[in-house]
Symmetry: C2
């Protein structure tokens, strides 16, 4: 029975919870059992307090007023503060550290009735440095991607229907692609990152993982002060720009196949698909993203550098000491050029319901030491645009490869609507179990 | 004796503390006595724990390794987290709220040996809404300015030599001008604002107050990973651009007099002074700043809006509900235009050691309900540029009016060096007591 429950998406669970057909405690127990059964293999969780979860579930069952997320279990990346659980950042400096406050996004989740199930593993500080022990549920020898490793793996392995992550480079979209789940990085600053660890404030963005496009929209509505409805275009009204970046990285066979298959399916469904090029200006965005991220990191990790030098991973010392030798002049140039590209991209992308691009260069690499390339994610993060990973392709070895839907800044609703439509066209019902 | 001590600047106290001529406990007691004597009138403090301060002072006296700020008392604006004191944001929602973590800037201060003296008053959330009861030490009937009201007043009234603030509109430079103290808003993101309350992340900046330009540099060096030395140009080498904004606001008589007096003094000292105009493009920055600030505030206050609607000041409800009717399209346009102006301003300002501009339209207004206009501060905050308030003018009624030194992004060191030189030229030794 629990296994059946765990196959339901958040939207499906929501119906049963709202109608009281399903109790929150029952669902919480099912999640905890699934975690107990699976997490010794997957290792997606940094902290789960079984008694706390069950107590909060029972409390939610007693609540009369039911929010839109009433009783829905959600994992929180362990770089986001939770008042009743430790926040450890996968850093020995913060082992068992437990500041008694919730991040703004956690407060909003709780106010909507969500059940915080625990803290999911992360690359150190959601940035560089130490990798978590988390494994890809589709092949335990492979990385789930990072830095939101645990959130992606937990959703993919049916531990929870929803999880929060953060993205500064490719920390949401990359693990979603490798783990075969839906994920959304909204427009920069559309969701408050108060209480989420700072890495590079021009880039840091809160986002989330789910097993359906509808579930992404469910969370977006909770985080959006407007909570406007999202229209879903008919296939023949859809205009998709297909972007095969050449200068950002080299796609491997799996990603090429994913793009080709998606293009074919879209055309077959009567969708208008148009090959897109971006001005050669955009070639520089990969390097500029890296420069901005690592230069802003200098102030982000100065406190730990001064107080816990020995416990801070070498990569952060490099950043604070600026061993790359980046100059403020090059930082200014990168800021200004990125701003110019944002404006250009918004105009180009406005002609489409979404732009379809690779999420990752290929499927998840073997081994846990390398969480893969984020070359196809960094430029979008720098452009501040909404991105959704659609888990639309599986290799013959059963490994997922996602594609990214992108839109202009603040077109989150439109990109979500497009993701819902494309998921329907592709017949993706439950992404973690879906195979073509 | 204590009164004499309280007249010393941080740099002067630093010498005595490093040589052990003065103990930290002795200095802490002097601050606490001054606060006890004066704060019923000035009301600069939201929280001071006498026993905690004395215990930490004694602990610092026992420490062998002495950091650059060893024993220097500093006030922390009550929107910045402190692990051992409440952080209340001047919001009834957070009355006696006490998250057990330090903001990154507080960690850095403690690591440098600073003594955290307490939390200083603020306008609600360092933003809009409820004003603190703080009064201007130079005229108790007047506002000290805001939102860093307590930090400016505490430094001006000799309670502490140093204090931290935050600026999103004019929350550092404006109260510094009204209270007659030095203050610095560094380049955006040069200091981590992790653990400082979010209002508008494109604008939010950590800065500080002091009673000498050297003291500003002392703190900058602690927050700067490079800790490079700042050269101080000779007067005849200095190039100052004088900027009298016409479109941003109307200067009152006191500010006009301050600008005229400063120009005369600089010319008399052999400084090259050049009247500066900025392209008419820059006229829009006041409105664009407001639009960006209030639109980004939507996500910043959504958590409290959802959980404590009745306790949140009306102004924040207006922001979350977007009663101004700002569109995301206008937000994008404002982002892109501001980015363009940043690039233009950096090129123009690169010809000067600093640009001299008004800090406020005039002296502090009468009454505590209005913390004054930030029309002359918002555009610089939006341009991300370093700003230093120089308390260089006093009206015949004994009210201070400051001027702002501004430079291109990341020219913080050069602007600091210029401030030190100008303070010398103007004979400003101890700003709170200095009169022309």
């Amino acid at each position: 029975m629990q296994d059946d429950l765990m196959h339901l998406t958040a939207s499906q669970l929501q119906e049963r919870l709202q109608s009281r057909e399903l109790s929150v405690a029952e669902l919480a127990k099912a999640c905890l059992e699934r975690i107990e059964a699976r997490d010794s293999a997957v290792r997606a969780w940094a902290h789960v307090d079984r008694e706390l979860v069950l107590a909060q579930a029972r409390e939610l069952d007693r609540t009369l007023v039911r929010g839109p997320l009433h009783g829905l279990p959600i994992g929180i990346k362990d770089v986001i503060l939770t008042k009743d659980m430790p926040t450890q950042y996968n850093s020995p400096i913060y082992r068992d550290s437990h500041p008694t406050m919730d991040a703004a996004c956690v407060t909003i989740l709780r106010a909507a009735g969500a059940l915080i199930l625990g803290k999911t593993t992360t690359v150190e500080f959601g940035a560089t440095g130490r990798k978590p022990p988390t494994r890809n549920p589709h092949d335990l020898k492979r990385t789930p991607g990072g830095s939101s490793s645990g959130s992606a793996a937990a959703v993919a392995d049916l531990h929870v229907p929803l999880a929060l992550g953060t993205q500064t480079g490719g920390s949401i979209i990359r693990p979603a692609s490798y783990c075969g789940v839906f994920a959304m990085k909204p427009t920069w600053n559309r969701v408050s990152n108060e209480g989420a660890r700072r890495f590079s404030p021009s880039l840091d963005t809160i986002g989330w993982f789910a097993r359906s496009a509808e579930d992404l929209a469910l969370l977006f509505q909770v985080f959006d002060p407007d909570s406007s409805a999202h229209s879903i275009a008919e296939p023949h009204e859809l205009r998709i720009g297909l972007y095969r970046p050449t200068a950002w990285g080299t796609t491997e066979q799996a990603t090429q196949a994913a793009l080709a298959a998606a293009e074919q399916r879209l055309r077959d469904a009567g969708v208008h698909v148009e090959e897109l090029t971006l001005p050669s200006d955009f070639d520089a965005l990969v390097d500029e993203h890296r420069l901005i991220m690592l230069t802003e990191a200098r102030s982000s990790f100065l406190a730990e550098f001064r107080t816990h030098y020995e416990l801070l991973h070498e990569s952060f010392r490099e950043q604070v000491e600026n061993r790359n030798g980046y100059t403020y002049e090059s930082l200014r140039a990168a800021y200004d050029h990125a701003a110019k590209c944002r404006s250009i991209f918004d105009r180009i992308a406005a002609d489409f319901d979404a732009i379809l691009a690779p999420s990752t260069v290929g499927e998840a690499p073997v081994g846990l030491a390398d969480t893969g390339s984020f070359a196809f994610n960094g430029p979008w993060t720098l452009l501040h645009v909404p991105c959704i990973n659609v888990p639309c392709y599986w290799t013959k070895d059963g490994l997922p490869v996602g594609l990214t839907l992108v839109g202009p800044r603040f077109s989150d609703e439109r990109v979500l609507g497009t993701a819902v439509r494309i998921a329907m066209l592709f017949g993706i019902r439950d992404s973690a179990r879906w195979r073509p």
